[in-house]
């Protein structure tokens, strides 16, 4: 694995309109990204009501759906992103948190 700093995170969030769930998901995501990926991410928000063809092309069913386009591999996180641990797992931000720290220490 490369150093995290070398990785730029390219994120896309699919939402439906301006519902409270949409607002919730955006707020949750911003908070996580600001804490974990400060200055290292780009976020695009796509409203499926305005861009249904984009949802078709990306084969999205559920909203909200977060797609981690970069770095590879492609990952998806479904839901309002209220479960912080699951989001981090989905973004592969700390899937092996402790072993990684151990490696860095050695």
């Amino acid at each position: 694995m490369n150093e995290p700093a070398a990785n730029k995170y390219l994120l896309k969030l699919y939402v439906t309109g301006t519902s409270s769930r949409t607002a919730q998901a955006i707020e949750n995501l911003r908070r996580i990204c600001d804490q974990e990926l400060e200055g290292r991410y780009e976020l695009e928000i796509v409203d499926v009501l305005e861009q249904p063809q984009a949802a078709e092309d990306d084969r999205i069913l559920a909203t909200p759906t977060l797609i981690k386009q970069l770095p590879p591999p492609l990952r998806r996180v479904i839901g309002d992103l209220s479960d912080r641990e699951k989001v981090l797992l989905g973004l592969e931000l700390r899937p092996l948190d402790h072993p990684a720290r151990n490696l860095a220490d050695q």
């Binding site: 439906t16 499926v48 949802a55 078709e56 759906t65 990952r75 839901g79 309002d80 992103l81």
Partner: protein, 501 residues
């Protein structure tokens, strides 16, 4: 808007399955959603595609929402049925919403969600092609993509309601775990319960049997019960017509010759044209001869004849015919005879029925002989066999064809065949051929047991066979018990004809 439909009769639209539309009294209820439920391999995807293809055929565009197979897989699989989905997509008549699982992308669920994107995609696709029909195949697969089942159920309900407000007619397929049990898994019938169709694929006595049943159509009429169907190349689902077609039969008083002058006389002037005659007898009593004479009788009058032979080879049939003074080869050369020989077991009875119908459609015969029904009976269950005979006799009569079927009795001397017992009520006339032991000599006897709608000679007549065919002679005198297989000589000449009737 919704309540106004109460006073209006429910409009129906074609499924593309002609005989199913008859059973459904028009097709699927328009602007509603119908649940099509069936076990794995019961034909749900074929139904889904055929429904859209029928619409496109009459200018109503469609959307295919697939949760299970990918769109490329469906395009490839449906080609063999003659449906070119890719072309329709190019022409703007069809749009896919490919919601099949993407095996390359790992997905994590982190909080509450809805299926807003799916709904937006369906609405977008419907708008894009101006769809009037939507097929959703199949609901079970969408449940397996998410862990929160109650959300999926609620969202599918929302999509189903949205389809209704879009004014499209939709079918959604769902899985069942068994052919006789709950309508569908996962409680999907809770939100599309108005119209339910069941597809079955049952293993019955070691033979596969497909049936289709309309469980309910809310507020509109349909035929009840299971109807057998088969799935064929270049056509998809074909439902076997039973009672639906029988209603249209017109019986005629036109008579046609049996090819045997004396037999015509016994029948009161020949067979009726739109009738089906069963010739029953033990092996060697002259069934194939009766068939041969029947075909010759047709060809002599310039009528095309079709022979479906399941017992003897072509060579054997032609040799036999020559021995009885009938030249099958010349009849064939004159275009008056078509002989199709095959083993009964090469396909199921449903497929035989379709094959025979196709042969009749192509060759347009005036006479059809089938030798023998008993051979076909062994390649299906008794129920499938009865349905085959019903389907075939209805079709033959509908096409104003005379049909002659043979059946073989097990015992040499008498009794009835199993075939006969199963189908005797379906045929218009029954002719029995019997061996008769007379004073240490084997003779052959013929009697017309039944002749619907006509007077007929009820006596048992002796007949002989020579190089010119069958010759009917005098009735047996002083003998009774021939039909029962135990002829007894009776000295009193007055009681000579008092045998069974």
């Amino acid at each position: 808007m919704k309540t106004s439909s109460d006073s209006m009769p429910v409009r129906k639209i074609s499924t593309g399955i002609p005989t199913f539309d008859v059973i459904a009294k028009g097709g699927l209820p328009a602007n509603r959603t119908t649940l099509v439920s069936g076990t794995a391999g019961s034909g749900k995807t074929v139904f889904a595609t055929q429904f859209l293809a029928a619409g496109i055929g009459e200018g109503a565009n469609g959307v295919f929402v697939t949760f299970e197979e990918s769109a490329p897989d469906i395009r490839a699989n449906m080609r063999s049925f003659g449906w070119d989905l890719a072309r329709w997509e190019k022409e703007g008549k069809l749009a896919f919403v490919d919601a099949s699982p993407d095996p390359h992308v790992e997905t994590v669920e982190a909080g509450a969600f809805d299926l807003g994107a799916l709904l937006a995609r369906v609405e977008h696709a419907v708008k894009k092609v101006g769809a009037k029909r939507v097929s959703v195949d199949s609901l079970g697969a969408v449940f397996s993509q998410f862990s929160d089942q109650s959300t999926v159920r609620r969202e599918l309900f929302r999509i189903s309601a949205a389809l209704k407000s879009m004014g499209v007619t939709a079918m959604m397929s769902a899985e069942r775990t068994s052919d006789y049990g709950p309508v569908a898994r996962l409680g999907v019938e809770e939100f599309i319960a108005d119209n339910v169709i069941i597809l079955r694929n049952v293993l019955d006595d070691e033979k596969r049997r497909r049936t289709i049943e309309i469980l309910k159509f809310r507020g509109t009429d349909h035929q009840k019960g299971e109807y057998p169907f088969t799935i064929v190349e270049d056509g998809g689902i074909v439902v076997i017509p039973l009672s639906a077609i029988q209603l249209r039969q017109a019986s005629s008083n036109v008579r046609v010759s049996s090819g045997i002058k004396e037999l015509d006389a016994m029948c009161g002037g020949g067979f009726f044209r739109d009738s089906v005659i069963l010739v029953s007898g033990a092996t060697g009593t002259g069934k194939t001869l009766t068939v041969t004479q029947f075909l010759k009788g047709g060809a002599d009058r310039g009528e095309r004849c079709l022979l479906l032979a399941f017992e003897e080879s072509r060579e054997q049939l032609f040799r036999n015919a020559t021995g009885w003074g009938t030249d099958f080869e010349k009849m064939e050369k004159d275009g008056l005879l078509k002989v199709v020989c095959n083993y009964p077991d090469v396909q199921g009875l449903e497929d035989w029925l379709l094959t025979i119908r196709r042969l009749i459609d192509e060759f347009k015969p005036k006479r059809v002989a089938l030798d023998s029904l008993s051979a076909l009976e062994r390649s299906g269950t008794s129920r499938a066999f009865r349905e085959f005979v019903i389907g075939l006799t209805s079709f033959i009569k509908h096409e104003e064809i005379t049909g002659l079927f043979t059946s073989t009795t097990e015992s040499l001397m008498g009794g009835s065949s199993i075939t006969e017992a199963h189908i005797s009520t379906l045929t218009d006339s029954i002719i029995l051929l019997r061996y008769v032991e007379m004073l240490g000599e084997m003779k052959r006897g013929l009697t017309v047991l039944k002749m619907r709608g006509s007077m007929h000679d009820k006596r048992i007549r002796e007949f002989t066979i020579d190089a010119k065919g069958m010759h009917l002679g005098d009735p047996f005198h002083n003998v009774s018990g021939i039909l029962a297989g135990a002829p007894v000589h009776v000295n009193d000449p007055e009681s000579g004809e008092s045998g069974h009737s």
